[in-house]
């Protein structure tokens, strides 16, 4: 610890120990703990305590019964635990109902248990708990007592301690502990309702994941199976998911867990009785048939359980250990049915279905969860009839005026995923006829969405469009359908939308449309003779005049992409394009725009120096790509577009990411020019000196004076003379390292309570 901090520490400790002083917020205490952690990891905790007796004073002080804030208590406990990792024997507190204290005390118990058994049980894996050190035995007895307690908070604490133990300690003694405690844990299952079910689930999963325990020998699988059947559907869901995620697990248990997870969907299919075939295949997973009335009794229960189930299944779907065979068709059927129930489209014939419908109609939460899951299900295949239903329900959601903006966004995302997964026609890179048919119905919907009074809807419509063009922009069927629609024209109009997010999305979409040659240039009667304004000019207008950052950033992305791809508008006069863009970007107030300007500069640089772009290996080779030699010749275009002026300015940018990016670019350039054997002694050229002087002024903050046109030789000389590596080192350090220093933290904390001498003021 540096002396400045040592000086501040006693004052801080006395502030913390004083219940009357307002304590800094949790974040400060967390940061303080982080700092102590780095100190204890780097050196001896004992030394720390010896050098700073105020710490010991604080820890002793908090043990006295007093009105300390729970956060200071928790902080002290955690500090004690941290120090105890090396220097054991700190007393611990228990019984405080405060969440912070309980959690800290629990963690401390785990540390002490681990430490006390480290020496004793290591050499003797078979050592029974009766032979454990007294300290460990006391802890175990305490846990046992808590597990037997009738009070749920105590049971919860005991379960949490055990969860942490099995999660962190992977020594053989944990198995001994489990064997001793598992009967007590099993006893909890006999209570109705099962107390502290969430914590119990966490514990069982923690035990099941433990590499030390041989699950078969200690009855874990049986306990898990028993728990699955005892817990309520809502509580059993996370356990079922956890079991299914286990790498090794008996097949029967997996089947049981999967059945639990599928139960709500089975119920939905059963209640709507739309496809008995689907129902059979879900039932086949071994779940007991449960009726809607018991599983989904109220609206809140129904919505909550369905959302959780769908989210669990969504997590499970992409995992390699997911159940096999995966019931893709029934899941699709159930999800589509839920979506239809939510939109009031389904016409259930049974009473149960009617109730379900009444619960779900218009429920945005379930709609979002179901659309997310439906999107995930696009990774698998499904019977043609079901896929048709999927597209039908998606179209219904995209069309319905009642779809909320968030639901619509999810519907767009799911639609894109399903279109993406639809098979391509053999021998042709076009969409399959089925998807084409869908697209024909979808495209008339899109203009309406792009005209929505709700900006979120316009925005998600544009995002969807951008994705679609990116994926199918080259395919004839899609191009025909798109060009026949009003979409391209509307998109262009949205470049002037009042909402900046929409303008940004419109910029991205227009960039894509233009790249794919899908921008409409009509000579319509409405625009007689009026030559359509060039998109490049329009985007440049946005870059130079838009008051919001998002559209300007979007323009920079589009320009970079255009440059990379050799877009026709750019390829005509690349130098002029780059020069203009860099000039505008360099004056932008938004650092992301300037950073993106460097990205564009890098692309230009790579193209100019003839190095194939690492970003887009399939890009059309731009016509400006020149042979690498002679270097001076190659550097000349860079000089003409004033790339160096832009990069040097960025090097001293007040925003670190910009400076770092520029530094990287210049280092790359210097490496490229390493072999250059230009006129020696160019450092003596007066131009170089003046450039260096100007750069020094820039670094000092005076960026008023431009560099003007630089000769390649001057650039190379300046690059060689600069300490770019050193600069990179400085930039690599956090720019707010000063603010983040422990000294600053201590000062801040003291300042908040006015304990710093200089802040004391004689005032009333």
């Amino acid at each position: 610890m540096d002396p400045e901090c040592s000086q501040l520490l006693p004052a801080l400790c006395s502030v913390l120990a004083d219940p009357r002083q307002p304590v800094a917020d949790d974040t400060c205490l967390e940061k303080l703990l982080d700092w102590f952690k780095t100190i204890t990891e780097a050196g001896s905790s004992l030394l720390l305590l010896q050098e700073n007796p105020c710490l010991l004073g604080l820890l002793c002080h908090v043990l006295k019964p007093q009105d300390l804030s729970p956060r200071v208590l928790a902080f002290s406990l955690r500090l004690a635990g941290m120090l105890a990792a090396q220097e054991d024997c700190f007393q611990y507190l228990q019984g405080d109902s405060s969440l912070f204290v309980a959690s800290a005390a629990g963690q401390l118990l785990v540390h002490i248990l681990g430490l006390s058994l480290q020496g004793a049980a290591e050499g003797h894996p078979g050592l029974q708990t009766g032979d454990w050190p007294v300290c460990a035995q006391k802890i175990v007895s305490h846990i046992e007592e808590s597990l037997r307690s009738a009070a749920t908070p105590q049971i919860t604490q005991a379960l949490n301690v055990l969860t942490t133990t099995f999660g962190h300690c992977h020594n053989p003694w944990t198995q001994v502990l489990w064997v001793r405690l598992s009967p007590l844990v099993a006893c909890l299952l006999e209570k109705d309702p099962v107390p502290a079910a969430h914590s119990l689930v966490d514990l069982l999963l923690s035990v099941a994941r433990s590499s030390v325990l041989s699950s078969s020998s200690c009855g874990l699988w049986e306990t898990l199976a028993q728990t699955l059947s005892h817990l309520s559907p809502t509580q059993a869901g996370p356990l079922a998911l956890g079991i299914l995620k286990l790498q090794e697990c008996p097949q029967a248990l997996r089947a049981q867990a999967f059945a639990v997870l599928l139960q709500p969907l089975t119920c939905v299919l059963e209640a709507t009785a739309q496809a008995p075939g689907l129902l059979d295949s879900l039932d086949g997973t071994g779940g007991a048939s449960v009726t809607v009335d018991t599983l989904l009794p109220s609206k809140a229960a129904c919505v909550g359980l369905l959302c959780r189930t769908l989210a669990h299944l969504e997590l499970l779907q992409p995992l390699p250990q997911r159940p096999s065979p995966w019931p893709q068709a029934p899941l699709l059927g159930a999800t589509v049915t839920i979506l239809r129930l939510c939109s009031g489209l389904a016409t259930p014939t049974s009473d149960a279905g009617g109730h379900l419908c009444a619960f779900l109609v218009g429920c945005v939460r379930v709609q979002r969860a179901a659309l997310d899951f439906l999107g995930t299900l696009s990774q698998g295949t499904g019977p043609r009839e079901l896929v048709t239903r999927v597209f039908a329900v998606l179209l219904e959601y995209l069309t319905s005026p009642d779809s909320s903006p968030t639901v619509l966004k999810k519907a767009f995302q799911a639609t894109f995923r399903w279109l993406q997964s639809s098979p391509e026609t053999p021998g042709c890179s076009d969409l399959d006829p089925h998807a084409q048919l869908f697209l024909r119905e979808l495209l008339p919907v899109l203009p309406k969405r792009l005209c929505s009074p709700c900006w979120e809807v316009r925005d998600s419509g544009l995002e969807f469009l951008t994705q679609m063009i990116g994926h199918w922009g080259g395919q004839a069927g899609f191009r025909r359908a798109l060009l026949a629609s009003e979409v391209p024209e509307l998109t262009e109009q949205l470049l002037r939308d009042p909402e900046s997010y929409v303008r940004a999305s419109a910029v991205a979409a227009m960039g894509q449309l233009s790249s794919q040659g899908l921008r409409v240039t009509p000579a319509s009667p409405e625009h007689p003779g009026g030559r359509q304004k060039s998109l490049l000019a329009e985007l440049l207008r946005i870059l130079s005049t838009d008051s919001e950052g998002f559209p300007r950033r979007a323009v920079m992305h589009v320009f970079t992409q255009w440059l990379r791809d050799g877009h026709a508008d750019v390829a005509g006069d690349t130098e002029r394009f780059v020069a203009r863009v860099l000039q505008v970007a360099s004056q932008d107030l938004d650092w992301e725009v300037r950073a993106q300007g460097l990205e564009l500069a890098l692309v230009f640089l790579e193209q100019t120096l003839g190095r194939p772009s690492s970003h887009c290996p399939y890009a059309v080779t731009p016509p400006v790509a020149a042979p690498p030699s002679p270097l001076a010749q190659a550097l000349r275009p860079l000089c003409r577009v004033q790339l160096f002026e832009f990069a040097f300015r960025a090097l001293f940018d007040c925003d670190r990411p910009v400076a770092q990016k520029s530094c990287d670019l210049l280092l790359f350039l210097r490496a490229q020019t390493a072999s250059y054997s230009g006129p020696q002694g160019s450092g003596s050229v007066p131009e170089v000196a003046s450039v260096e002087a100007a750069l020094q002024r820039w670094q000092a903050g005076d960026q008023g004076q431009p560099l003007g046109y630089l000769e390649p030789e001057v650039v190379v000389a300046v690059l060689r003379s600069m300490d770019l590596e050193g600069l990179r080192g400085v930039l690599a350090e956090s720019s707010d390292r000063v603010e983040k220093s422990p000294q600053s933290l201590l000062q801040d904390m003291l300042a908040t309570v006015g304990a710093l001498g200089e802040d004391e003021a004689d005032c009333y």
Partner: protein, 718 residues
Amino acid sequence: MPYPFGLRRFHFGKGSRQWGGPRKTAVLRRFESYSPHSSPPATRRSYPSIGGSLWLKTFTLSHFFYKLKLGFTSQGGFVSQLPLLPVRAPNLTMQCAQIQINYYYVGLWTGHDFHSQFPSFATCSKELKECSGHVFVDSVPEFCLPETELIDLSTVDVILISNYHCMMALPYITEHTGFTGTVYATEPTVQIGRLLMEELVNFIERVPKAQSASLWKNKDIQRLLPSPLKDAVEVSTWRRCYTMQEVNSALSKIQLVGYSQKIELFGAVQVTPLSSGYALGSSNWIIQSHYEKVSYVSGSSLLTTHPQPMDQASLKNSDVLVLTGLTQIPTANPDGMVGEFCSNLALTVRNGGNVLVPCYPSGVIYDLLECLYQYIDSAGLSNIPFYFISPVANSSLEFSQIFAEWLCHNKQTKVYLPEPPFPHAELIQTNKLKHYPSLHGDFSSDFRQPCVVFTGHPSLRFGDVVHFMELWGKSSLNTVIFTEPDFSYLEALAPYQPLAMKCIYCPIDTRLNFIQVSKLLKEVQPLHVVCPEQYTQPPPAQSHRMDLMIDCQPPAMSYRRAEVLALPFKRRYEKIEIMPELADSLVPMEIKPGISLATVSAVLHTKDNKHVLQPPPRPTQPTGGKKRKRASDDIPDCKVLKPLLSGSIPVEQFVQALEKHGFSDIKVEDTAKGHIVLLQEAETLIQIEEDSTHIICDNDEMLRVRLRDLVLKFLQKF
């Protein structure tokens, strides 16, 4: 239609009426029930009273509906015969059969020989026209009057108007039924109601048509006509539109009221209008006595639109809440519909097409204009003109700006800035919105396309909208967007078929949907809910939609048309005032902690349903005169009263007291109601019950008096 629409146009409350002689005093009477539809002879009760009689009619709240029957118009040479359809009005009591879609059209002239297709109707073939397979009646517009068979409107005392959409039939009642009562409504209701009627009259009178079809109404002919003509009900009662004179006369009978204002009705009940959140000045009504409260909730909205928000708090503690006038399109969310409206409007105009919005001159149009105000810039529509054409367009736009106190909070605060509460003022100022009384005159010179036109009538049977349908109907670039939920757009369009223009249906109905009803009922917690039968079951076309019905506990009491309901409460108490000098003379005696009793001798004076206890008149010396006294001058017979007793007799102590007084051989038996004390020796029985004590002994008066005095010792006297 997916839902029984038509639950809208009118509702009137009919109230109490003074009956007979001067209103002096009346006996205490009870207000027995509120019934949505009472049959007059059955519910009419008269109570004899001193100095005259007052018959207070039971309150009956009902929706009346009128049907705008056939119409036509011939304007500007566009069309010679045009169709009409009924303006379905909600009838609180309508049954399914009666709200089915009955439309009667005047057919567009198509040149078909109708006679040859329906040879048996040669007699009325001139009245019937055919268009695209539908048969229409060619006639001057006629309107179906409010229900008059169930109730004699001349006996109605009070009409309470909930909102301006509910008063369109008022002139028929006030001018032609002998009605002499009072009508209560808020100021905006009256002013905007006047505008709606004025527009209607103007539309009708502008194009006078001599012919009134009547032959088809002959029952023998009507039943043979194709549906829906044959299903039309009470066609013989349909009447032509009223005149402006009748409108003015009707409106002059309205008494203006403000929200939360308490109006005494004959001392029997108080009525109070509360904001219902649906339209400017729209009201729910509380009808209450001292001990009972009935809320009448009709045409209410919980959405944040321009009117003052719904006052829910005042509806609490209702014994009965009568709920009607819910949204007619429960599946259409107004927000989504406004979105659809804007998107379709923008798409049409961008493609060079025109948009026609058939609408009323007040109400949703204010919200639509506000929405467009925010939207047009984002949609790049700043240069598109918006035209609002109605004989009352100017008044409507101006009225909306001056009713600040009736507006939502946001709009009210604008007034103090000062800014106009509605942004349409700015649209007008910047020439984006222009309004005209009709197509003729300035409009024809200003008119440029593409444009958006708001005009009436939403039935498409008359008004300037007819011209635009003719003008724009043939081009697929144009769009007609229906926003008023009163009419089936398909039926409205039927006589214009075939049409090339696009038709969009975006019904915007901000009234309560079933989810909001359930929220409201949870908040207000009335003891009982009474509503039309249709609300207690899902709509027939969507029988699985259990969410589209009222779900409350206890289940709502439902009623059908012409059903008389006894509301589930009884009047048990009346409030009686005690005159101060009488109160001064009372000497209360505490019989239990917190409970004191006093005897009072007084005269109960009842007048206008107010009851007052007055000191009894001092006995006057007989003057010896021989004049006959008037019955009312009789002095109550003030005999010396025996003291009143209270308290209970503790049996054990009573037995001890008996023994002390020399009685022996006492036996006590418990009975269901108390005890029997048997004095076996004296052959006497004392029956002690909660509210009585009987001493039964044979012919021994001395013994009875002794025992009585013993009993009295245990009781308090006052």
